[in-house]
């Protein structure tokens, strides 16, 4: 569906025709798209339920071109939606009707690999997996591994603070980046962070991560590399109850073990993945846990023994250690292919991204189960169990009138339940356009206003990805989820309802 998003009232001060004239002097013809058939591929990102044709698309090849483009946009008040590979699952790169899409896909070079300092300097359009591939010969790798890592770009990873299956032990993007070069909306180049492990002043490096392209345009990234573990082993444990699997996760962590990866899949996810990639999953089990440990041979042996004992005591009906590297990869292939596998079960699916404290897993699964019954929509659960990040996939058919709306409503209820249980509405996919209403549930107006003030500190005219990430207060008032403390409505000067 075409979704007109609130672009915070940005009003262009120039015609499309004149803008094309100006931009054609900055970038080559093949880097400037403005005919509707050329714009079509950019109408959505990974959240394809929302679509909007942008005013035009620019594909600059250098930082200097980006700088010139941004300065023009600043001068004529044109909103800028920066796009990497367009794999966002929250509509972070959804175009605006009167804004440009700034695609950084052509900035895809690895500038330098520093084997001594364990770093790689890369352009923002470099794919996540391409970094690990490029440094593999040196026995190094880049740790964050979102499931879309074959396609997603490092610039987008920074914008969303992407995670993956290994972040319990090795951290999110924010833990694995040392420096960013960022252009502000006024076209000034900021060097944030450094080649050293810290920097003077405020931690702007942390602030940029997960800021969804609203504070600046990332034009270069210095990532930290890790030494490949000498030995990696993965265990697969099957359970006859999902909740038993969930409780076992807490027991592993209480046992003092930080697995490299700890993933939970429920029965429907197991079946979908098994049908799709034949990973050797037990299709009769109610849930499986995939637990990966890594380190030296002695370390891994010690941990394997401990984990195996915990799994068996925890009630696993079967524990299987991948016999070789090929089987280990197959076990993971099933998990990583869970989304496309579910795509074969249903015409459409809607991927949620709530996070909860792990001990609430039983409660949230029950709630999801109840909502599934109530709405009559099937749900498949994959879960980064180690760090409490849930990805319930709601199955629906967009061709059935009203079903998308129903799905979104149900998804909203799942996220509200995550907040009630002490969690958050998004662990790693970002707010984008998708979770703006749930932001009103999670944050008070004063908190939202603080976010908006931070945005304005970087982007005085609110031209960078406006309408994403942070809801304006009037939206929350309309959504009806405004926090009212002690009977006092905050910011009484604002118009409401």
């Amino acid at each position: 569906m075409t979704f007109k998003i609130d672009d915070w009232g940005v009003e262009n001060q120039i015609s499309k025709h004149d803008l094309v004239q100006i931009f054609s002097k900055i970038v080559p013809d093949n880097s400037l798209l403005f005919e509707s058939e050329d714009l079509k591929p950019y109408e959505c990102d990974g959240l394809s339920a929302y679509r909007q044709i942008p005013l035009m698309v620019l594909l600059p090849e250098t930082t200097e071109q980006i700088q010139q483009i941004i300065r023009i946009c600043f001068k004529y008040q044109i909103a800028v939606v920066t796009r990497g590979s367009g794999t966002s699952l929250s509509g972070g790169a959804l175009p605006l009707e009167n804004g440009i899409v700034l695609s950084l896909a052509k900035l895809n070079k690895i500038i330098e690999i520093d084997q001594e300092n364990f770093t790689a300097r890369v352009q923002p359009g470099v794919r996540n997996l391409a970094i690990s591939d490029a440094v593999s010969a040196y026995d190094l790798y880049y740790a964050p591994d979102p499931s879309s890592q074959i396609a997603c770009s490092i610039g987008g990873n920074v914008a969303e603070n992407a995670g993956g299956v290994h972040c319990l032990k090795y951290g999110l993007t924010v833990h694995n980046v040392l420096q960013l070069k960022v252009l502000t909306m006024e076209g000034e180049l900021l060097e944030i962070g450094s080649e050293a492990l810290d920097s003077p002043g405020y931690d702007l490096l942390a602030l940029m991560h997960g800021s969804e392209g609203m504070l600046g345009v990332v034009v270069e990234v210095l990532v930290k590399l890790l030494v490949k573990p000498k030995v990696i082993k993965v265990l697969m444990a099957s359970f006859d109850k999902v909740t038993t699997a969930g409780e076992t996760v807490s027991k592993i962590i209480s046992g003092g073990i930080i697995p490299a990866g700890l993933e939970l899949m429920d029965k429907s996810a197991i079946k979908a993945a098994e049908d799709f990639v034949h990973a050797g999953y037990p299709v009769d089990a109610a849930a499986i846990l995939l637990c990966e440990v890594d380190g030296s041979l002695a370390e891994v042996d010690a941990q394997l023994e401990q984990v195996q004992a915990i799994l068996q005591q925890g009630g696993a009906i079967d524990v299987h250690i991948a016999v070789d590297e090929a089987q280990r990869k197959t076990f993971w292939a099933g998990r990583k292919a869970a989304f496309p596998a579910v795509g074969r079960l249903s015409p459409d699916y809607y991927c949620m991204d709530g996070t909860i404290p792990r001990f609430q897993l039983g409660k949230i699964l029950q709630r999801i189960h109840d909502l599934s019954d109530e709405y009559g929509l099937a749900v498949v659960n994959v879960f980064h169990a180690g760090d409490g990040n849930l990805h319930p996939l709601i199955l629906y058919d967009a061709n059935n009138p009203g079903e998308l709306e129903k799905t979104e409503k149900m998804g909203g209820e799942i996220l509200s339940a995550c907040v009630e249980l002490g969690g958050t509405i998004t662990g790693e996919h970002g707010v984008g356009v998708e979770k703006l209403d749930q932001m009103c549930v999670q944050f008070t107006p004063a908190e939202l206003q603080q976010f908006l003030d931070i945005k304005t500190a970087f982007d005085t005219k609110n031209l960078l990805n406006p309408g994403k990430g942070i809801p304006l207060l009037h939206r929350c008032a309309e959504f009806g989820a405004l926090h009212v403390h002690h009977g006092k409505l905050p910011h009484p000067e604002l118009e409401r309802f």
Binding site: D114, E116, N161, G163, C167, L190, S194, A196, L197, D198, S199, P200, G201, Y202, D203, L204, A206, L207, H209, G210, S211, L215, V227, K230, S250, I253, S254, I257, I258, G295, S296, L297, A298, E299, D301, T355, P357, R358, F359, G386, D387, G388, G422, G423, T424, T426, G427, V431, Q438, Q442, F443, T444, A446, E447, Q450, F451, D453, I454, T456, A457
Partner: protein, 377 residues
């Protein structure tokens, strides 16, 4: 105003909020402090005292979740004790510099100890916080879960901001289990081979959580399972002998600056640099004065330097190498010079501008620890 009679109440939220709100309304500067153990790291702040020292207590501790939420006045030493009882720790090994150091001050200073390159920094382990901004508003950012990208990451921004962006009331931290086994040892090696050596130990997959260099000796700490550490120790000792046993308390003495190295009287500088500087940049050892003394930590990425050389020279060097220099302790530095020397490496004008805009977004009347890092911030 909250009741003043309830003296046993460790929750001072209401009092602290109303104190900041009043200060905002009256445009009255505040000097925010815990127990003042790290005041030497900032420029003196004028203003009435806002103390978080008695705002104490653990709010939530879920060992199985690896998270804890505590009030900012809680003593760091107390917190470490609570965690150790459950076999857990603060992974960033923060220095306290005093038995009275609070967790609020620890996060406000954002300092990390010797494990920093291997397990992460203070901000890496901050999951959420409750703060009072400069308008006297009580705000909650982040949470108690490992992954959270809802809203901008203001809890990590506030870490290391020395109170200038908000009064920290509560902080939620990610924890790690204490390793079943830690083992430390030293061996002699020329200083120019130290970083290379640490790097080769990392490449070999050894579980290093500390690597420093002092007086001709490399000090290494391994941490992991009994078997893993024994295996690594054996392998290292076969290639590098003799290894001298070192008590694990060496690392806390290093972090707390209690080693005899820290007895010098010259100004103490903290240089954060890439372990391997870019080719062609000069080696600082060649530029050192006869009386300059240094201790290298973080496998080469951190240098503690006692030196009477000018701030400009030290900072120029640090910048050339891709890092920065902080005047950590003035010690015998002339008091007028101490006053006029910025504690932290000066920012570029464009970075200062964005810092000021952020400060103004959080603290529009500049009442919170104004000027504590830089005069104009």
């Amino acid at each position: 105003m909250a009741s003043q009679t309830d003296t046993n109440n460790q929750d001072q939220t209401d009092q602290l909020v109303s104190q900041v709100r009043m200060a905002y309304e009256n445009r009255q500067a505040l000097s925010i402090q815990g127990n003042g153990s790290k005041l030497f790291l900032i420029h003196p702040v004028s203003g009435s005292l806002l103390s978080t020292a008695s705002h104490q207590g653990v709010i939530n501790y879920f060992p199985s979740e690896l998270t804890i939420t505590v009030r900012s006045g809680t003593l760091l030493s107390e917190l470490k004790k609570i965690l150790a009882e459950k076999g857990q720790m603060l992974p960033f090994e923060p220095p306290g510099y005093s038995e009275k150091a609070t967790i609020g001050g620890t996060i406000a200073a954002g300092l990390s100890g010797s494990s920093r390159p291997y397990t992460g920094s203070a901000r890496d382990f901050v999951l959420g916080c409750k703060v009072i901004n400069g308008r006297g508003e009580l705000l909650h950012f982040g949470g108690e879960v490992m992954k959270n990208v809802a809203g901008y990451d203001l809890s990590r921004l506030i870490t290391g901001s020395y109170g200038g962006l908000g009064v920290i009331l509560e902080v939620s931290l990610k924890l790690l289990p204490l390793a079943p086994k830690q083992q430390s040892f030293s061996f002699s090696i020329p200083s120019n081979q130290f970083s290379h050596h640490v790097r080769s130990l990392q490449m070999a997959g050894h579980p290093i959580t500390g690597a420093c260099y002092l007086d001709g000796q490399a000090y290494i700490r391994l941490a992991g399972s009994e078997q893993g550490v024994a295996f690594s120790y054996q392998e290292i000792s076969e290639n590098q002998s003799p290894l001298n046993e070192v008590n694990n308390s060496f690392w806390s003495e290093l972090n707390e600056q209690q080693l005899s190295f820290f007895d010098h009287s010259q100004p103490l500088w903290r240089l954060s640099l890439p372990a391997f500087p870019a080719k062609g940049t000069e080696n600082f050892e060649q530029n050192m004065l006869a009386e300059d003394k240094q201790l290298i930590d973080w496998g080469g990425a951190l240098r503690w330097l006692y030196s009477n050389q000018s701030a400009d020279k030290i900072r120029q060097y640090a910048k050339l190498q891709g890092g920065h220099a902080q005047l950590f302790r003035g010690n015998s530095m002339d008091s007028a010079l101490l006053k006029s020397t910025p504690k932290q490496q000066p920012l570029t004008p464009v970075m200062m501008k964005i810092h000021q805009q952020i400060k103004s977004a959080m603290d529009p009347h500049a009442i919170l620890n104004h000027g504590c890092i830089y005069p104009d911030l």
